[in-house]
Amino acid sequence: MAGNSLVLPIVLWGRKAPTHCISTLLLMEDASMIVTGCHDGQICLWDLSLDLEINPRALLFGHTASITCLSKASASNEKQYIVSASESGEMCLWDVNDGRCIEFTKLACTHTGIQFYQFTVGTQREGRLLCHGHYPEILVVDATSLEVLYSLLSKISPDWISSMTIIRSDRTQEDTVVAVSVTGILKVWIITSEVSRMQDTTPVFEEESKPIYCQNCQSISFCAFTQRSLLVVCSKYWRVFDAGDYSLLCSVPSENDQTWTGGDFVSADKVIVWTEDGQSFIYKLPASCLPASDSFRRDVGKAVENLIPPLLYSVLDRADKQLLICPPVTRFFCGHREFSYKLLIQGDSSGRLCIWSVPDTLEQQDSAKGLQTTTSVSLQEAFDKLTPRPAGIIDQLSLIPNINEPLKVTASVYIPAHGRLVCGREDGSIVIVPATQTAIVQLLQGEHMLRRGWPPHRTLRGHRNKITCLLYPHQVSSRYDQRYLISGGVDFSVIIWDIFSGEMKHIFCVHGGEITQLLVPPENCSVSFT
């Protein structure tokens, strides 16, 4: 665990999967992997097989706060890079093949959305990340160094950008960034190769700024099929706009107090929109929204609220009505692998991923039945399937006769100087084990697994209830005696132990409540504690 120069962290998960309350998700372009970010700041990589079987592969640690967005960060298929951003302004660049963190930076502001875009600089294609968040600009960041190169500014009423999309049009040969600000103003920047050459000489202002009166905009997406329309989803309605002059084509309010959280185009004439509670609906667009139709743009300028809402096509129901502690995240992806795919992926607070494969030919269905989930798996289910089951650090010492669940370890401290690991448990006992031997027992299988009482350990009993914290003060400051170990518990007491003899030195019961934390005062502090 600790060599002289190299420290190798080893994680033993135990039987319970770590909590993974999904806050954002991404499907890699070749559909071989799903990446999820969670509220605790970890990123999980899930392999996706051709027949849509999901298997969690790795957890990436790198952020200290909730993950706000994920984006791919490389164009070529040889490198599979993604970028992640967190609530605290951190940004990490990862190689998802081996889980390495390649680059890390921290800005003062939070990003809420990132899009990858390739600029043509001279003859080369340069990867850029367009970021928006809790600031009024769109930052253009180098995709390999994560350095901020310049920003796209607003001249007219600049405000935070709530969502953005990049429009690549074959007709105009001009790529544009279309974004909606929190005050409901649609802004357009033209990003051609010139822009990237102008670096920090002149500010880049928006080409167009148009109020579209969309409060609480959740997502904006461009129709890749017709390249003529935009879908803007707000919490209480969704709207379709012409991607040429941004005129409103249709507006559909939500029913029964539902709150929309996003949407996308499924095909040229269908959109999928999902709600905060995890339901999704597919709508067929009216003729006035379809460029192929004669009546396209017929209703522009009319009172849009009078339009008949497009037909409700089919309902995708959530797999199980399990209680969730926060709204699930839904995203729609379409592209090509060995076959073309259209997948709706949802991740929820229990670490569960659900996939619906959306068929190309959707016929009017019995709306009660809806489209069935194709696959669904949670982190816990994946853990349960493993044999041998994932090991906890002192599992073999924690089994209680007649009870399936091992005793929970509630606090721990590692003492590298003695190679000891100290674990406090929920029944108030403390177990001291040699760290490397314990790790060997768990990770390598052999006859020693069957030996009783192995590895050699010492149990300290004194607390009457759960241990909440452990402290080995000598590790923090050498003024403390090497022998002392301090523990605190929910039974209001603090105990000083001698780790060599296992003796209880002192018990302090003066506290009027549960002990939550033990700290060593700073060196220059005049108060001393023993």
Binding site: C21, H134, P136, T183, P211, N216, S235, I325, N465, E514
Partner: protein, 272 residues
Amino acid sequence: EEEFKWLLQEEVHAVLKQLQDILKEASQRFTLPASGSGGAVKQENFVLSTSGTDQVKGVLTLQGDALCQADVNLKTPRNNQLLHFAFREDKQWKLQQIQDARNHVNQAIYLLMNRDVNYQFKTGSEVLKLMDAVMLQLSRARNRLTTPATLTLPEIASSGLTKMFTPALPPDILVNFYINLNKLCLTVYQLHVLQPSTTKNFKPAGGSILHNPGAMFEFGNQRYEVSHVHKVECVVPWLNDALVFFTVSLQLCQQLKDKISVFSSYWNYRPY
């Protein structure tokens, strides 16, 4: 058990309602030009001065989150010359701190609105999660007002602010505007050029909210030293109100979290 049900069904909504009311009140202070009524946001004048000296005097006009007019009078200590600059007619300076704070409050309100009376909370952790999200937004809003950006002197010198004045600012003067707590602040730096032959050790100053006399920096191939710093400020009453509302709401959130935690800890720690 019964009591917990009551807490989830009744008490939580009562607190959420109260929170919403307070935050809406707070949000109204950050009057928004685009919201509803449509009318132009009223302009407020603030006179910035210090009690002791009258070397710098500023009259600033605040419209929502933007400074639309500024008049700065500066008496230079060297020759008692009186300098006067004002914003150009067509220019406004946006105080990003106010806009950010307002957006954070609005996000908090949005989170709360999605969980109105019709929503049934089923678990305590659901409420805790919501409270965490709301508190994060609120503390961000408060932090935006309480901690102005730390800027380096070259950043101040190159910011668009220097180009907004008429008559143009002389090259040896830098100005910066920011919000600190409930106060609108103006700092004026007077500089002198460091000759290349100077024996002084050149050490560029880092980022800071307020730089002290003696701070040095390089800008446009020229080295400067700050010779005088003048700071004047004025209390903005509605910012004060907003900050009080933030604090009260944060307290309410924490109290609700505590109430729920009491139950969960009671259930967890049942003796074996």
